[in-house]
């Protein structure tokens, strides 16, 4: 488990991260969402022990991460700007990492390279941006560490490759309990992969919840009632996060258990009542609006 407790970091006059506490449990995919400048990369760099928080502590499996090789052995960090040695090839990079990470699986790395159609002997500086990202991810996965920290790693990957990477993640999670931590400014890219989402804004955590928990507690319902008086009475009995109306058709975003919500609505004899699927983005819009933020301005 990765635990960051009340960490803050300032760069001269700018507060990049302000009193953040995050817990990343093992075996789940943690998504870190936020706009540019929200503090995602700073948080990631602190989680990986690259920079030291001004205040607070970060523990990886109960070991302080800063200046601790023991803690750092447990993760592989893919920075938003990947670094490869000058004129190096994937093969050379793998050999370097093999010396650093005891469990680095070189054969597996070669097989992944083949699967992603990357040549092991080709100079990395001739790779496209997307290819370099793929290579970073493959190196990270094959390092066989418990945690994989990816900063903006999925941005720029084409959908096919993204699916490929996701399937590898799933496999690794299943086989050896890999815990990927993925920072991104694109909510849609994380929607189908993350178990837990942390939303960062202006250096602070706006929201940190399990995706399942979010999905099980928020519903979108479209309904039509015969009279507005009944509808208004029902609304007082429900936890309405959002209420949009087009003529007599009301589209409600409601918090609560699905069965209970539906039985409440049906007690008002609606002409039409249907539960609609809710995207992660819509869930976030609803949740953050409640706390006074217009999330459309915070995420893409």
């Amino acid at each position: 488990m990765i635990e960051a407790a009340k960490i803050s970091k300032s760069f001269e006059d700018i507060k990049a991260v302000d009193d953040i506490s995050v817990t990343i449990r093992e075996g789940e995919v943690f998504g870190l969402i936020g706009t540019n400048g929200a503090g995602k990369s700073t948080l990631m760099r602190m989680l990986t022990g690259v920079i030291k928080p001004d205040v607070g502590k970060i523990l990886i499996d109960d070991i302080p991460v800063y200046e601790s090789p023991e803690a750092k052995k447990k993760f592989f960090y893919i920075s938003d700007e990947q670094f490869f040695f000058v004129n190096s090839t994937p093969e050379e990079m793998a050999r370097y990492y093999k010396n650093i990470y005891e469990g680095f699986q070189i054969e597996k790395f070669y097989s992944y390279l083949e699967r992603f159609e990357l040549k092991k002997g080709r100079k990395i500086n001739t790779f496209s941006k997307g290819m370099k990202k793929q290579l970073s991810i493959l190196l990270g996965i094959c390092a066989d560490t418990k945690y994989l920290m990816c900063d903006e790693t999925f941005d720029g990957l084409d959908p096919v490759m993204r699916q490929g990477v996701k399937s590898i993640f799933a496999k690794e999670m299943e086989e050896r309990g890999l815990t990927p931590v993925i920072a991104s400014h694109n909510l849609r890219e994380l929607e189908d992969i993350c178990d837990h989402i942390g939303l960062l804004h202006k250096g602070g955590v706006l929201l940190s919840k399990d995706l399942e928990e979010l999905k099980c507690n928020i519903f979108k319902v479209q309904c039509v009632f015969e009279d507005s008086v009944t509808e208004a009475e029902l609304m007082t009995q429900l936890d309405v996060l959002q209420n949009e109306r087009r003529g007599s058709l009301a589209t409600l975003t409601l918090r609560g258990e699905q069965e209970q919500i539906l039985s409440t609505l049906r007690s008002g004899n609606p002409i039409f009542c249907e539960v609609l699927p809710l995207s992660l983005e819509e869930i976030f819009i609803s949740e953050t609006e409640v706390v006074g933020y217009d999330i459309k301005k915070l995420i893409f």
């Binding site: 760099r45 750092k72 650093i100």
Partner: protein, 726 residues
């Protein structure tokens, strides 16, 4: 904890990425050592065949040993450049965020990572360098020039050059750890290497400006020691201090090496600490530690501003403080703007950091005021004559301008250096009378007169150096008293710094040869050469003041000995032969030299002109007002008569006592003549005895003309014209 095997594995992997650096070192050192040795060896082998009598194999080995030794400036320069480049190659990743993220997220402690990079930077130099030294030794062995001296020089060279490399490399590493980008990194490294020397020079110059008696470069050990803050200066002196020539004793070598090692350890510890504490987020910024910014400003700006003020003053060539202040302020503001722009990477940031600049300005003023006060106090400081052991007095008028060869250091000394080392006047009364008068009469440095360099040595061994500025008249009153002392004569003549038994050759010049700097080599046995020098020493000591005062030298002789380090022939210095030195002249003649009092090389005189400049007054601003007069003589009888009163160049200027009297004051002579080879020559000359009355009268006539020009009568003007025509 990282395991040892992981440490070495990473080191090996990192080293693989830097193979090019190994190659660069090897190429540089291969050219500078084995190849250069091979070329030199071939040259010397030819010497052995053609000049066998002059050089032996051992002598040539000594010369070749210098290439592998410690005092090889080319190797020093190469090593400095390599250290600079390699430190940046090893640690430049600190300047790039993606690289910092990569390295600092690896499961390796920062201290270990620094050690890996640091050691690799050392290995890429040391391995090829040592290999090239071994190759150089192989070349020497193949040529048959390898001996104990060469091996000793090579081993010392390896040790000292590695320490030197580490000094420079560690300094640059420290600079990189303290900065966030390449530009400021290079600036910081340059500052670290030059700061001590710059500060030392600045204090020396400020002291020189504020004091009228301060002798720059003599006895100012504290100022000299400040320069040791520069690692490159330490390396340079380490090379010299451990070389064959510079190593005065085993103890001094040990002190030099240990001192350098302590300095190196201190630098390495600082670099290590800076690396550990360096925030990773400082990549790309100007300075790694924000707290350093005001400290850097307070250290750099005052020194730069003071240097700027001195440069400004030199540019406008004014002695007033006004321009110095202007220079100080302008440089201070410029430095502030530049440093602030660099720190903030924004030219608009000049408005920031004014507080630290104000502190820097105060520091600069304190440096100025401190040096000024110290300089004045230095001038006022009284010498403890009661405890004076001896003194060396060196008036600038007797400085021949010739160098003395110091065999121990294999360097050339100025006459001041020689006098300070060899003159030991123990007559306290004479020293006290003269120097007290010097202190009273002391003028500004730019005064048109004589500089008197004095070294006082007290009974407790302490040494004090002073330079007074007095007029000719004051000095002239003492010259006879000085020359009465054997210590004075021995102290100003190089002959007494030479052991006659060491002289293996003697070169000779008469006046004509001196003009072209040609020399004849005397054909004398070593015994005769020793006898010649001994005779010269005796005759110089026994010569009357008049003999030295009233006659110009007729020749110059150059005793030569073998350089004890490389066995090349070295001239000790020029000794002037006076007409009264009969024994010396006899031995010169025995050596085949045509010595005569009139060997001036003149076949036919064409013209002698005499110029006189008199100081007649001072204007309101204290500037001297002069009256100039010049007369020319073309009649043979006048010129021949005049020739007896003058000495031609090169014997006319500062050849010794005879030209230091007040007679020459203001008079210069110019002679046009045909030499014994029919060539038309022009040369300067000076009066050595009194100025003939008829010449003074002619000059007076000429001099009065311009003074009375507005109201002068026609008759006087005609007289003046006639004199000029004559």
């Amino acid at each position: 904890m990282i395991s040892k095997s992981l440490f070495f594995k990473v080191q090996k992997e990192e080293l693989k990425k830097k193979v090019i650096l190994l190659f660069i070192t090897f190429i540089c050192m291969f050219l500078a050592l084995p190849i250069y040795i091979a070329v030199e060896m071939q040259k010397y082998q030819q010497w052995l065949q053609t000049e066998r009598e002059k050089f032996s194999k051992e002598q040539i080995s000594g010369m070749l040993a210098d290439i592998l030794g410690t005092d090889n400036l080319i190797i020093l320069l190469i090593i400095f450049v390599l250290a600079f480049v390699f430190a940046f190659c090893q640690l430049e990743y600190l300047y790039h965020r993606e690289k910092v993220d990569f390295y600092h997220s690896l499961p390796i402690k920062r201290g270990r990572l620094f050690a890996i990079q640091y050691m690799n930077g050392v290995l890429v130099f040391v391995v090829p360098y040592v290999m090239c030294v071994i190759l150089g030794l192989c070349v020497l062995t193949a040529g048959g020039f390898c001996n104990g001296l060469v091996l000793k020089a090579s081993l010392t060279g390896i040790l000292i050059h590695i320490i030197g490399y580490l000094l420079c490399y560690t300094t640059v590493s420290l600079s990189i750890c303290l900065t966030g980008n390449l530009f400021t990194g290079v600036l910081a490294a340059a500052t670290f290497h030059g700061y001590g020397v710059a500060l030392s020079l600045l204090i020396d110059n400020l002291f020189y400006e504020s004091s009228t008696t301060f002798m720059s470069g003599y006895g100012n050990r504290l100022i000299e020691k400040i320069a040791y803050a520069s690692p490159l200066y330490v390396y340079k002196n380490l090379g010299w201090g451990t070389s064959q020539r510079g190593a005065t004793s085993a103890g001094s070598v040990a002190v030099t090496v240990i001192g350098s090692l302590v300095y190196l350890i201190l630098l390495a510890a600082l670099a290590y600490y800076a690396y550990l504490k360096r925030p990773s987020e400082s990549a790309g910024k100007a300075v790694s530690f924000a707290r350093l910014k005001p400290i850097i400003k307070v250290c750099v700006i005052p020194v730069a501003a003071c240097i700027g003020s001195l440069l400004f003053k030199a540019m406008v060539y004014d002695t007033e403080k006004f321009w110095q202040v202007i220079g100080f302020v302008i440089t201070l503001l410029l430095c502030h703007a530049m440093i602030q722009s660099i720190f903030e990477q924004d030219v608009k940031a000049v408005k920031k950091g004014l507080g630290s600049t104000a502190v820097a300005a105060v520091a600069g003023i304190l440096i100025f005021a401190g040096c000024d006060l110290c300089g004045k106090a230095y001038d006022r400081a009284e010498i403890d004559y009661d405890h004076l052991q001896y003194a060396a007095i060196m008036p600038s008028t007797i400085d021949t301008g010739n160098y003395y060869y110091n065999m121990e250091e294999d360097t050339c000394w100025s006459m001041v250096d020689y006098v300070f080392e060899h003159m030991k006047i123990q007559d306290k009364d004479l020293v006290k009378d003269f120097t007290k008068e010097c202190i009273v009469e002391n003028q500004e440095k730019h005064f048109y007169g004589v500089s008197i360099n004095v070294k006082y040595t007290l009974e407790n061994g302490k040494e004090f150096y002073r330079r007074y500025h007095i007029d000719y008249d004051t000095l002239a009153g003492y010259m006879d008293r000085f020359f009465e002392h054997e210590e004075f004569r021995k102290g100003i003549n190089y002959a007494f710094g030479i052991d006659p038994a060491q002289v293996i050759q003697m070169n000779y010049q008469n006046g004509y040869q001196s003009y072209y700097n040609e020399r004849y080599t005397m054909n004398l046995s070593q015994k005769d050469l020793a006898a010649l020098l001994t005779a010269y020493q005796e005759e110089y000591l026994s010569a009357s003041v008049e003999e030295l005062n009233d006659y110009a030298p007729i020749a110059g002789i150059y005793p030569c000995s073998l350089n004890k380090y490389d066995n090349t022939l070295e001239e000790w210095g020029k000794l002037y032969v006076y007409p009264s030195f009969t024994k010396t002249i006899d031995l010169l003649k025995k050596g085949g030299m045509d010595v005569s009092a009139d060997s001036k090389g003149i076949a036919e005189l064409r013209e002698i002109s005499v110029n006189r400049v008199e100081i007649i007054d001072e204007d309101e601003e204290g500037r001297v007002v002069t009256l100039e007069a010049e007369v020319s003589y073309q009649r043979q009888n006048e010129m021949t008569n005049l020739l007896d009163y003058i000495a031609l160049e090169p014997y006319c200027y500062q050849t010794g006592y005879n030209n230091s009297s007040e007679i020459r004051n203001g008079h210069t002579v110019h002679v046009k003549y045909i030499n014994e080879f029919g060539e038309e020559m022009e040369t300067d000359a000076l009066f050595i005895k009194e100025v003939p009355q008829w010449v003074t009268e002619d000059l007076d006539k000429k001099a009065r003309t311009p003074l009375s020009s507005p109201e002068s009568s026609d008759e006087e003007a005609v007289d003046a014209m006639e004199t000029e025509q004559k």
